[in-house]
């Protein structure tokens, strides 16, 4: 298949979580997510003081869609990509940076987090995560999901959709 899947697990996943946690502390942001470019959440952390986040699936999907659109826009303008996206509202802002070729770092911050810190530490964390996830590209077919998995999933399909 053309597009390799990002697979995060074990020590790499733990390290990614640590990196997100540290980033939250340094930047003062509310939520930090590592999202793949297809819109799936790979890892996420929330600051303890922050209110409950919005639906993370929706957030990840919209960010990935937005990043894809922005990249197409960049190509139209003769750039390979815009590496960094920043959306600033009245109170809340969104910072998105590329993590290697297949993932995105997403930071949601409010007025308590200075923009300079968000950008500085966001950029650093994105680089660290890119290094970390470099080896996490795997073909999902090698993961040993077998007939038993397929049969189990099939039974759940019957349950969810009816026979």
């Amino acid at each position: 298949m053309v597009e390799p899947a990002l697979v995060l697990y074990g020590a790499t996943y733990e390290k990614a979580l640590e990196a997100l946690d540290e980033l939250l502390r340094e930047s003062g942001a509310r939520y930090a997510l590592l999202v793949d470019k297809k819109g799936f959440v790979l890892a996420h952390k929330e600051a303890l003081w922050a209110p409950k986040p919005p639906a993370l699936d929706s957030l990840a999907t919209l960010v990935a869609g937005n990043a894809a659109a922005t990249q197409a826009l960049a190509k139209l303008l003769g750039e390979a990509r815009f590496n960094e996206l920043l959306h600033q509202g009245e109170r809340v802002g969104l910072y998105v940076d590329e993590v290697g070729e297949h993932a995105l770092l997403v930071l949601v911050f409010d007025e308590n987090a200075p923009l300079g810190r968000v950008k500085l530490y966001g950029k650093r964390a994105a680089q660290a995560l890119a290094e970390l996830t470099k080896d996490a590209l795997t073909s999902p077919s090698k993961l040993g999901l077998d007939t038993e998995y397929r049969e189990g999933a099939s039974a759940l399909l019957d349950e969810l959709f009816g026979n």
């Binding site: 298949m1 053309v2 597009e3 899947a5 990002l6 697979v7 995060l8 697990y9 074990g10 996943y13 733990e14 793949d36 470019k37 297809k38 819109g39 799936f40 790979l42 890892a43 639906a55 699936d57 929706s58 999907t61 919209l62 869609g65 894809a68 659109a69 197409a72 073909s139 999902p140 077919s141 993961l143 040993g144 999901l145 077998d146 007939t147 038993e148 998995y149 397929r150 189990g152 999933a153 099939s154 759940l156 399909l157 349950e159 969810l160 959709f161 009816g162």
Partner: protein, 196 residues
């Protein structure tokens, strides 16, 4: 191409509803959303114009449940069907695991069905994919139209070799909607681990 997250023990699949403008892709998703119990679905996201034409995509996450310790989830997307939205349509196809092609039964939309299928082939090709690389189900929608074309005629245009499963549907009434989704889900799951 599915995304697997071992730490959370999650496996994710992406299913895209494709087809010409106004063929009923969003209606399919809305029906599914209405039928899936709370707790098994996330929020439905629609990026639409004021007259509810899909502008970028609709998105609906579904939880299948746990299989062999893996939380299994499907992400359903639609594309905007209108011809001039191809740039965004192409983006949605990225990383697709399965496709439902929603064809329109109206006589004056027969050409649009063929155009859309051709467009889908071209867009997939840009990701290095052929039609044989992605599980595909054809849904012949709007069977309730008084002047609906015979299913075989619609099929002959989008699937001349008769290679793909076909479902008749009236998405506004939910007819055929769950059957279509179930079949594509099965086909997508059938691919897991079966490839070298």
């Amino acid at each position: 191409m599915s995304t697997i997250n071992f730490a959370n023990r999650e496996i994710n699949f992406k299913i895209v509803y494709y087809g010409p403008g106004l063929s009923g892709k969003t209606t399919n998703l809305k029906w599914v959303y209405g039928r899936i119990p709370e707790g098994r679905k996330g929020e439905m996201v629609s990026l639409a114009t004021e007259d509810e034409r899909t502008l970028f995509f609709d998105f609906l996450p579904l939880d299948l449940g746990e299989v062999k310790g893996f939380k299994t989830r499907f992400h359903l997307y639609t594309v905007p069907g209108q011809v001039f939205y191809n740039a965004s349509r192409k983006l949605i196809l990225r990383g697709v695991d399965g496709i439902v092609f929603v064809a329109d039964s109206a006589p004056n939309r027969l050409r649009a069905n063929a155009e859309s299928m051709r467009n889908m082939r071209e867009n997939l090709a840009e990701y290095g994919l052929g039609l044989d690389d992605v599980p595909l189900v054809i849904q012949v929608n709007k069977r309730d139209l008084p002047d609906a074309l015979p299913v075989e005629m619609v099929r002959a245009v989008v699937d001349p070799e008769g290679k793909y499963p076909v479902f008749e549907a009236v998405a506004t009434e939910g007819k055929g909607v769950m059957e279509t989704l179930k079949e594509i889900s099965r086909m997508v799951l059938g691919r897991v681990g079966s490839e070298a």
